[in-house]
């Protein structure tokens, strides 16, 4: 089984690849479609997976992954456990800004099986942004797609002067200072 590595392949000109990892396949599909609908001036590859590691046999045709978004549903403990298990199959270099957590399902507090603390700890432990988005709502899905696209452009190096390393500085709360 191969580790996903951020720098083991050459980038393709004017294109970027994002990998969505999560247990809810229909939600991944919807988000992928929303991302594709957005106006962009580069070629985008969206890969979806239920968990890591990715199958080794398709490794040679897979492009370089620029951003990995882990999708966790607060209403399903299983989705959290799945992401936690997948995180151990990743190259540490990814956690320099090329990973983010998408948390959905917080809107219905009475259906939540995952504690907020668990999610916050995950973000702190892996130094990656935690984005709360109710992906069931179309407006929020579109907004999330736009945010991911922006992050993806930066992760793929399309923005001169802006690197994925900056994302960790955005996560520092002013109270921490």
């Amino acid at each position: 089984m191969s580790l996903v590595r951020p720098f083991d392949k050459l980038p393709t000109l004017n294109s970027a690849a994002i990998l969505l990892v999560g247990t809810d396949e229909s939600q991944q599909q919807q988000l992928a479609e929303a991302i594709l609908k957005e106006k962009k001036n580069f070629k985008i590859n969206i890969h979806v997976a239920t968990s890591l590691p990715l199958p080794a046999e398709r490794d040679h045709i897979r492009p370089r992954i620029d951003l990995i978004a882990f999708m966790i549903n607060m209403q399903s403990k299983h989705s959290l456990r799945n992401v936690e298990a997948s995180l151990s199959h990743m190259d540490a270099n990814f956690f320099l800004g090329k990973v983010c957590f998408l948390i959905t399902g917080v809107g219905r507090m009475n259906h939540c099986s995952v504690e907020m603390n668990a999610v916050r700890k995950l973000g702190n432990l892996y130094c990656s942004p935690v984005l709360f988005c109710e992906l069931d709502s179309e407006g929020i899905r579109v907004a999330t797609a736009q945010r991911l696209l922006r992050m993806l452009q930066i992760c793929a190096g399309h923005m001169p002067g802006v690197s994925a390393l900056f994302f960790s500085s955005l996560m520092k709360s002013s109270i921490d200072e």
């Binding site: 403990k77 507090m109 009475n110 099986s113 995952v114 504690e115 603390n117």
Partner: protein, 271 residues
């Protein structure tokens, strides 16, 4: 849990009944000294509400009597307010039966370990934030609206989240039960189209307690990690046998020999 004189009979009456939970905002100018007066006013209010729409002579006593009393022994800490019990009894309408009052509806207010909240409550407010009702929904609505009007408070249904239900499952499993232990049952709801599917997972109480005993490190103390571990063990056991991830479903009901609770806000204490 307190040093008050506890009336065991009164407390025993709370057991083995299904209670619907409500959350109540602090009550303005509620006085424990006026319980008799409140009983009188509420009796009149209930009678009036029940008579609405009925062609009954005004002043005719429908045989409804409401009593408010205090319930001792239900405080979590000494700062908690004393619990208040409201009961609606109806006198038998049949002439040959002796006029014995039969309790048709009960409700009680309590405040359990509300230390942090009580510190910030202003004067004139009484904090009895939990209300439990047993009996006809129509009576609950009438009593609720009287309290809301009289003390400027608000009642809302209290639902229990899967996280809290898991805590209850762990805590109740850990309790020692002398008599015969009923099976511990967990009910999970699976979102399916068109109708949701319910999975019921029953475990021998002894096995559940044995599992909890290996998980709990400090007796008398329960942590989130221990609750998670306890539930994860149950989930993986289920997955090994049925290949279903219960962790992807929603826990909706917990039932042990001590008590049972449903996410809609219904609880029953058995022991």
């Amino acid at each position: 849990s307190s040093t008050e004189n506890v009336d065991p009979q009164k407390i025993a009456f709370l057991l083995r009944k299904q209670w619907t939970l409500y959350s109540v905002t602090p009550m303005y100018k509620f006085s424990y000294g006026n319980l008799k007066e409140y009983s009188r006013l509420l009796s009149a209010f209930v009678a009036a509400e029940k008579q609405k729409g009925l062609a009954v002579e005004v002043g005719n006593d429908l045989g409804i009597k409401v009593t408010l009393s205090t319930l001792l022994g239900l405080k979590g800490t000494d700062q908690d307010q004393v619990a208040v019990l409201v009961q609606i009894a109806s006198r038998s309408q049949l002439p040959f039966e002796n006029a014995e009052n039969k309790v048709v509806w009960s409700g009680w207010f309590c405040c359990i370990s509300g230390d942090d909240l009580l510190e910030s409550v202003p004067e004139d407010f009484t904090c009895l934030s939990l209300f439990l009702a047993n009996g006809a929904e129509s009576y609950t609505a009438i009593v609720g609206s009287w309290f809301q009007k009289t003390f400027d408070c608000y009642f809302s249904r209290l639902t229990i989240s899967p996280l809290n239900l898991a805590w209850m499952a762990a805590m109740w499993t850990g309790c020692k039960v002398d008599s015969h232990m009923a099976a511990t049952e967990l009910v999970f709801s699976v979102p399916c189209i068109p109708q949701s599917l319910d999975i019921s997972y029953a475990i021998h109480s002894e096995d559940a307690k044995a599992l909890w005993d290996t998980v709990q490190k400090t007796p008398g103390e329960v942590t989130q990690e221990e609750v998670n571990l306890f539930m994860d063990c149950l989930y993986s056991h289920f997955h090994r046998h049925f290949k279903i991830h219960l962790s992807a479903t929603r826990l909706v009901k917990v039932s042990t020999s001590i008590a049972s609770a449903h996410c809609d806000g219904n609880i029953k204490v058995l022991d």
